[in-house]
Amino acid sequence: MTVTSNSGPGSDVEIPSDMISVVIDGVDMMVPKGTLVIRAAEQLGIEIPRFCDHPLLDPVAACRACLIEVEGMPKPQPACAQVLNDGMNVKTQYASEVARLAQEGVMEFLLLNHPLDCPVCDKGGECPLQNQAMSVGRPESRFDGEKREFEKPINVSAQVLLDRERCVSCARCTRFAEQIAGDPMIELLERGSKQQVGTASDEPFDSYFSGNTVQICPVGALTSASYRFRSRPFDLVSVPTTCEHCASGCSLRTDYRRGVVTRRLAWDDPEVNEEWNCDKGRFAFAYQRNGRIEHPMIRENGELRVASWPEAIDAAARGLAAARGSVGVLVGGRSTIEDAYAYSRFARTALASDDIDFRVRETSDEETAFLASSVAGAPVSVSYDELESAPVVLLVDLEPEDESPIVFLRLRKASRRGTSVISVGAVASTGLGKMAGRLVPARPGQEARALRELDDDARTLLAQPGAVIMVGERAAGSAGTLTAVLELAQSTGAVVAWVPRRAGERGALDAGALAGLLPGGRPLEDPQAREQVAAAWGVEVTDLPAVNGRSGSALLEAVRDGELAALLVAGVELADYSDPTLALAAVDNAPFVVSLENHHSEVTERADVVLPVAVVTEKAGTFLDWEGRPRPFGQVFRDALTMSDAKVLSMVAEAMGASLPGDVRAIRVEMGSLGPWSGHRFAAPNAQPGDRSDGVVLASWRLLLDSGLMQDGEPHLAATARPTVAVAAATMAAALGETVTISGPSGSVTLPLEKGEVAEGVVWVPMNSPGCHIHRDLGAVPGSSVQVSAGGVA
C-alpha cells in the first residue's frame, strides 16, 4: 500500500506507507517510520557528536552531546533519542547556531572534570572524546576550579579496570551489561558529580562479555588488564580476522605491532556477531606465541631430534607410503575448511584410506549418520537473523552461553522480543535464565524420551513457521537424541541447526574429513559422487577407497588393536577424547605416527615425525560457523615462516608421488569447482534411547573459560572464569552438604556443592575446568553413573 504525501520532495512522488519524508539541514530525505535523527543524519554523511548513543543499545539521551534543533520545538533535542516524524525539519550543528552552541557547551562540560591525560591514556588516538573535542570543543578551557579525583584504577573484574576520573557517565557499559549480556553487575553509583561506575563489593563484573564494555567505552575509562599500557593505537596494524575459538564465527579485528598481536576487537558484522564478541575470543590469543614448536622433529634411536624440513618431510612420506591403505587420520576440530579439505583429499588419495575423523570428543554412529544425512554440505538453513524472528528455539544438549556465546547473545536478544527459549537438558543454567527460557528436565542420556514426550505447549510453538531446534555436539553421547530431534522436526516442521563447539568442525564435515563422506556431503560409496570427486582430484575413481572407513571410537580401537599401520594426527589433544585412555593407547600402539602441531602435546611426545604448522595468524583460511556460513580470514603476519597444514601436506604428498594443492586459493577454487551435492544422501539415523540408569548420573559441559589449552597464558582472563563447583537439586544438595565427592571408574573429584534447578538424581560438574576434568579424573562422560558422597577435601 502506498500513500501520497504533499510534504515530501516533489509532491507527486509515491511514498510507501511505512516511510516518512523529513528534511535534515535542508536536504529532503525519506526514512522508515521510527528512525532516529542521528541515524538518518548518518545516512546523509552528517556526523553528529555522540557519546552515550550506540546503535545496539536503547537510547538514554544522557550525554547531550548530540543536541540539534527541530523546527517548532522550543529547546534543542537529543538526536540520539528524537524519533523523526513526517515533515520534521531538523537542523544540525552545520545549519543551526542553536545546535552548534548547545553541542559546544556540552563538550565544555564533558571536559570539565576529564583529566585530559591523552598522552598517557590507552584510548588516545582512537578516542571519541578526543576526536569530538577537536571537532566541536572550544580551543581553551574556561574552568579554573579543581577537577574531581578518584583512586585509579579500580578493578571491576580481574580483567577490566576502571579509571573513574576519565568516565563521562555515558552508561554504555552499564547498558551493555544489562541489555545485551544480561550481567548487570556494573551500575552507576552515587549521584551528581560523584556519579561513578562500580560494582557491588562482593560481586565483580565476571561476565563472559565484559571486554565489549572496554571496546564501546567512548573514553579511556575502561581498559583491559591484558592491553593496558601495551601500545598506542596509531602504532598498530589492523587485520580483519575470524575468531578461531568456537563455531559462532565472530568477525574480529586483530591488531599487531612489530610482529606481536597486542589485542583483538569485535568487528562489526550485523549478520553474525553484530558488534560483540566473548572474552575468550577477545583475550585468549597468547597461546599463538607461547610454547610453539619451532622446528620439524624426527625420532631417532627413540628420541625426538630437530630435523631439517626436507629430512622431516622425507621421513613422513616414507613412513606413510609404507603404511598406505592402512593409515588413520585424526584432523582435530580446529582446522580451517581448506586445511581439513587437504586432509580429506590426502587421506583418500596419497594414503588410500577412509579411516578419518575430525571429532575429538564423544561421538557415536548415530551422530555420524545425523551429520552425513542432515548437516554435511547442506546450505544455511537457519541464520542468526532467523533466530531473532523465531517463535521458539528449542535447545537440545546445548548451553549457548558456554558453548557458543554469540548464539547466546542472539537468543537473549530474541527472547527480549518475544521468542520462547526451551532447553531440553538436566540443568536450568543461569544462561537459560538470562534468555527467560524454561527447562524441560531430562536426565543425561534420556533426552530422546523427553523429546518424544514433549509437552503440547512446546509442540504447538514448534509447529509455527520459523521454529528452530538447535542441537549441540553433546547430543552424540546420548543415544537416540539426534534421531528424536529429526523426528520432532519432521512432525512439527521446525528447522534443525547443529551447533558444534569448535570452530573447525562444521568446515571439516563439509570438507569430508569424516569416514564415508567426500567433500560437500557426498557419500563415498555413491558412484556419481565418486566420479565428481575423482575428476576434481585428478585421480581414477578406482583409486578412491571403495568402502566406508572407520570413525569415532571404532577408529581409535582399530589403531589400538594394531589394525592400522600408521596414524596422521593434526591438532589433537588426547585428553579431549571422551576416553583419553583409549586415545593414548591408540597413539602408543600405532607403529608410525606423524603429528602436525603447533604446540607440544601427548601426541608430539609419541610421534615419529613432528611437523610444525601455522596458527591462525600465520595463514589465511575459512571457518564455517554453525550456520554453515563461510567466515574467511586473511593472514595477519604475511612474513610468517610457518606453513599451513595444507601446505605441509602438499609437500608430503609430493614426496609420496601424489599431488595436493597447498595454496589456500587453489584449494578454494578446487572446492568451488566441486559445487554443491544434489544427489543421494546418507540415511537419517534410527537409534533407540538407552535404558534409564539407576542412581546418580553425571551432567556436564565445557565452561567457556576453563582448562582449554588455547586460553593458556592469560591469567587475567582465567581469573574471571566461573568457579569449579558441583551443582545438584536442592534435596540432594541438602543431603550432601557443602562439599561433595564424585567418583567414577577412574577416580574421584571433590568439589564445593551448590544447589540449583537440576533434574532429580543428577549432579552437574564442569567438563574440563581446574580441579575437574571428567574424562581423565573420573573416566566419565555426561550420562555416566557416578557415586556421590558427602564431604572430602576440596
Binding site: 544522557a62 534543542p76 579554573d144 549521584r191 558529580s193
Partner: protein, 188 residues
C-alpha cells in the same frame, strides 16, 4: 516575615498583600528580593511588590509563579550567599545522568563558593551567565533548568554584590549575625 505559613489567596493577589497576611517583615525591615514560587524561578525586588501575581504579569516581569511557595529576603541577606546556597542544593540534588546538570552545577557551585570568599573574578562573573545558558533547555529534566535560573536573575538586579565579591568576602559585606532570628517569630 512574622507569620510564615500556608495562605490561600486568589490569583492576582500582590506580594505586598500576601506579606500583610503573614504579618509583615520581621522588625519591619525592607524587602530586598523575593521569589514568587521557589528557588527555581527568577527573583524579583521591592519594586515588584505591587504586581498582580498572575501567570501573565509574572511572565512580563521575567519570572514565573512556580510552585506557589514564595521566598522573601530582607536587606541583611547577601544575594551572593543566597544564590550559592541554592546552587549547592541543586548540585546535591543533581542525579548525574545528564552532562549539563551534573557538570554545570559542579562548576557553578564551585565558582560561587569562591565568590563567597571574596575570590571571584570579573571574567568568571560573565562566564557564569554563559554556563547557565549552557544548562537551561539542554538538560534531561527540569532540574537543570532550575539550577540555571538563580544566577542570571541575581546578576540582573544585584550585579554590584558580585563585583564586591571579587574583592571582599560576603560575610564582611553582610554580617551573618544580622540575618539570624532567635525570637519574635509568631507560632504557626
Amino acid at each position: 516575615m512574622n507569620r510564615p505559613g500556608i495562605y490561600e489567596a486568589p490569583l492576582g493577589i500582590t506580594m505586598r498583600e500576601l506579606l500583610d497576611y503573614a504579618g509583615g517583615m520581621i522588625d519591619g525591615r525592607p524587602v530586598k528580593f523575593w521569589l514568587p514560587g521557589g528557588s527555581s524561578v527568577p527573583m524579583l525586588t521591592a519594586e515588584h511588590l505591587d504586581l498582580p501575581m498572575t501567570y501573565e504579569a509574572m511572565a512580563e516581569a521575567g519570572t514565573m509563579l512556580g510552585t506557589g511557595t514564595p521566598m522573601i529576603f530582607n536587606d541583611t541577606v547577601s544575594v551572593v550567599k543566597a544564590v550559592t546556597r541554592w546552587l549547592e542544593f541543586y548540585k546535591h540534588e543533581s542525579c548525574g545522568k545528564c552532562t549539563p546538570c551534573r557538570e554545570g552545577t559542579y562548576w557553578i557551585t564551585g565558582t560561587l563558593e569562591r565568590f563567597q570568599e571574596g575570590h571571584g573574578t570579573d571574567r568568571e562573573m560573565e562566564t557564569l551567565v554563559d554556563l547557565c545558558g549552557q544548562i537551561a533547555g539542554r538538560s534531561f529534566c527540569a532540574l537543570g533548568d532550575a539550577a540555571a535560573t538563580p544566577y542570571p536573575a541575581a546578576m540582573k538586579y544585584f550585579r554590584d554584590e558580585f563585583v564586591a565579591a571579587t574583592t571582599t568576602p560576603v560575610d564582611d559585606s553582610f554580617d551573618p549575625a544580622a540575618s539570624y532570628v532567635f525570637s519574635g517569630v509568631a507560632a504557626r
